[in-house]
């Protein structure tokens, strides 16, 4: 029982990070029909910027929350800048091109970001200075840290805010209109280019925030970390139904739980034949199963090709 509860807690924390990243995939997909392959690397840049800023300020005597806030702001600013310029330079000119073209540029951008990061930050793992002491709380035989609670609650708050924003704000409504039909939205006087830029801004900001959480949670950053994280978040978005904002949140949480529980139990289930070193396989399996069996995901529209 306590292992189950423990994995549940871990899964929810992991899932809230996946969900934040998944939102970036799903919002861009909703509006452009594009899988922004490089989104995971935006998160990576956010994480590494956070590390750099905290490392620089760790000895400054500033209180830890202030350092973190500065680092998060820096990460968000850098990621927004990257996200918007990426759309501008690499995706916008290809909006009417065959589908494979923007996907190939997205792969190119992803490599550019990864290896630029390798040049800037090096290829070794970067440690996070210990700013906050971890305090443990126990619940029914399982335990969680204050940090875990913080990550989970912050992610939930941000997502609730996002839902409210999309639902009520003018620009949120314009986003939904553009998603329905960009051409008609354009005719109705919506500046679709601005909406698309704004979508990238929003997705990148959420990605940066996820990057902050990842380095807080794992205490490490690395130029290649965006790949796996991105794949998992994309899986989460597909699981929830790509293009669907609440779906991405649900999918993220679910994927976190699946991964956490599966890697917790796989050893027992297979009699020790497969170990937790297979944990990265679950995301891919979920992705393949969902796409093959129910391509619309849990809450979304159909994605398989139709006549």
């Amino acid at each position: 029982m306590d292992i189950f509860l423990q994995q549940l807690i871990n899964g929810l924390v992991l899932g809230s990070i996946y969900a934040l990243v998944a939102l970036g995939y799903t919002m861009v997909y909703g509006i452009l029909g594009l899988i922004n392959f490089a989104h995971g690397d935006i998160v990576m840049v956010g994480a590494l910027v956070t590390l750099t800023v905290t490392q620089a300020l760790a000895g400054s005597g500033l209180p830890a929350p202030v350092i973190l806030l500065i680092a998060a702001c820096a990460a968000i600013a850098v990621c927004i800048l990257l996200g918007i310029s990426m759309e501008r330079v690499a995706y916008r000119p290809l909006r009417r091109a065959p589908r494979l073209a923007p996907l190939i540029t997205a792969i190119g951008i992803s490599m550019l970001l990864q290896y630029s990061a390798a040049l800037i930050w090096g290829k070794q793992y970067m440690p996070m200075p210990e700013l906050i002491k971890t305090d443990h709380y126990a619940v029914a035989g399982a335990q969680f840290t204050g940090l875990q609670a913080f990550i989970f609650l912050l992610a939930c708050a941000v997502m609730a805010g996002l839902l409210w924003f999309i639902k009520t704000s003018r620009i949120g409504q314009a986003m939904r209109a553009t998603e329905q039909n960009p051409d008609v939205a354009g005719l109705m006087g919506i500046d679709t280019n601005r909406i698309i830029s704004f979508t990238f801004l929003l997705g990148s900001a959420l990605g940066a925030l996820a990057g902050v959480m990842v380095v807080l949670y794992y205490g490490l950053g690395h130029y290649f970390m965006g790949f796996m994280l991105g794949m998992k978040a994309f899986t989460a978005a597909v699981l929830g139904g790509i293009g669907n904002v609440p779906g991405a949140m649900l999918g993220g949480m679910l994927l976190g739980l699946i991964e956490s529980l599966a890697s917790g139990y796989i050893g027992d289930l297979t009699g020790g034949v497969l170990g937790s070193n297979y944990r990265d396989i679950f995301a891919f399996l979920v992705l393949i199963l969902v796409l093959v069996l129910r391509p619309s995901g849990l809450m979304g529209q159909r994605v398989s090709d139709r006549a």
Partner: protein, 368 residues
């Protein structure tokens, strides 16, 4: 300007002469390179030939049939491991390559169908991601199948893989024939060259066949293709299987050539590198793909020179040449899609040697 015109200008005799000259050049190439540039460059040529084979396989899937496969390196891995497991001390089996290469091709082809089948209903970009997932899954398995039963030897990989062997001649030995030293890289050169030429011929023939047209038709418009009576599911699976077969053979050759393989050699980046070769050269055009494979194999060597320059000028290497290579790959993908989406050497309207069409084609160009 017009390749049709130049081709028509050659008489059959001249054409045979041209073939002979090319054949002589190809035969002399490794020895000339060895003498002028050193043996390391012969090795680079060998690798380039291997990549030509690999890229031509991916070209069938991506270039002809328009299915973006991001896990293509998995078939290379399957071929390499098929060979390595059955021709190394790992299990103490030492099979003949004449058996193992076709076997590797077959296994890879079956993998191509098995992994391809579930993806057929998916739209292009989803297909890309799912194939990527399959590629990663295969790599993760290769990495972890050393417990509880040691099959792949995990991250350490498999060593002491048998070289190709023709009768008593093992290709990892040097031989002296009439004063000419035939080093392993020379021997492999001829094997790889034969395979690459065969792959080129097969690709060209497929392209210009009923099946090749069906692939391109699916790429151009799947609905129209099926309405014209093309069984899109089978024809797509055939593309996956053919592409995988090419990958499987090159994987087996790679294993015998290196004598060592590990999961490290079969990452997503390797899939993307092969994709780069296809995209950079020109999707769907055999000449372009060959060019792309050669350019991208030679690039790291040119970049190594950049590393030496840095050392000489600044006393240190600030930019790791291999990182720079990946950076340039990424940049190349973006720039190619933005400015030259058809590749450096795009496939033009395929030309058929029928006078009436040539005239029509010329007229078309004249009007354009």
């Amino acid at each position: 300007m017009n390749p049709v015109a130049t081709r028509r200008a050659l008489s059959p005799r001249q054409r045979w002469l041209a073939y002979l000259v090319i054949a002589a050049l190809l035969l002399a190439l490794p020895f000339a390179v060895d003498a002028l540039l050193g043996r390391a460059w012969v090795r680079i040529i060998d690798v380039a030939l291997l990549f030509i084979l690999l890229a031509l396989g991916l070209n069938i899937v991506v270039g002809y049939a328009g299915l973006l496969d991001l896990g293509y390196i998995a078939f290379f891995a399957v071929g390499a491991y098929s060979y390595a497991l059955l021709a190394s001390p790992q299990f103490g089996i030492h099979g003949s390559f004449l058996l193992l290469l076709p076997l590797g091709a077959l296994v890879a082809g079956v993998f191509g169908i098995v992994l391809g089948a579930p993806t057929l209903r998916l739209r292009g970009d989803y297909l890309a991601i799912v194939t990527l997932g399959f590629g990663e899954i295969i790599r993760i398995f290769l990495n972890n199948l050393n417990r509880p039963v040691n099959i792949t030897n995990g991250p350490q990989g498999i060593t002491l893989i048998d070289p190709l062997q023709f009768g008593g001649i093992a290709l990892n030995q040097s031989y002296s024939v009439g004063g000419l030293t035939i080093a392993p890289v020379h021997g492999y050169y001829f094997v790889f060259l034969a395979c690459a030429l065969l792959a080129i011929i097969i690709s060209l023939r497929l392209e210009d066949s009923r099946i090749g047209r069906a692939w391109v038709a699916i790429r151009e418009d799947e609905v129209a293709a099926s309405a014209m009576g093309i069984n899109t599911r089978n024809i797509k699976l055939l593309a996956f299987a053919m592409g995988a077969t090419f990958g499987g053979i090159s994987g087996g050759l790679f294993a015998s050539f290196q004598g060592f393989i590990s999961p490290e050699s079969f990452t997503l980046l390797d899939s993307i590198m092969v994709l780069c070769m296809v995209v950079l050269g020109g999707m769907g055009n055999v000449g372009g793909v060959v060019l792309g494979a050669i350019l991208l194999t030679a690039l790291p060597e040119a970049l190594r020179y950049v590393g030496q320059l840095q050392q000489a000028w600044f006393g240190a290497v600030y930019i790791d040449p291999s990182d720079l290579r990946m950076l340039l790959f990424g940049l190349a993908l973006v720039l190619m899609m933005l400015f030259r989406p058809a590749g450096l050497w795009p496939s033009s309207t395929r030309r058929r040697e029928f006078a009436i069409e040539d005239e029509a084609g010329d007229e078309e160009r004249a009007n354009a």
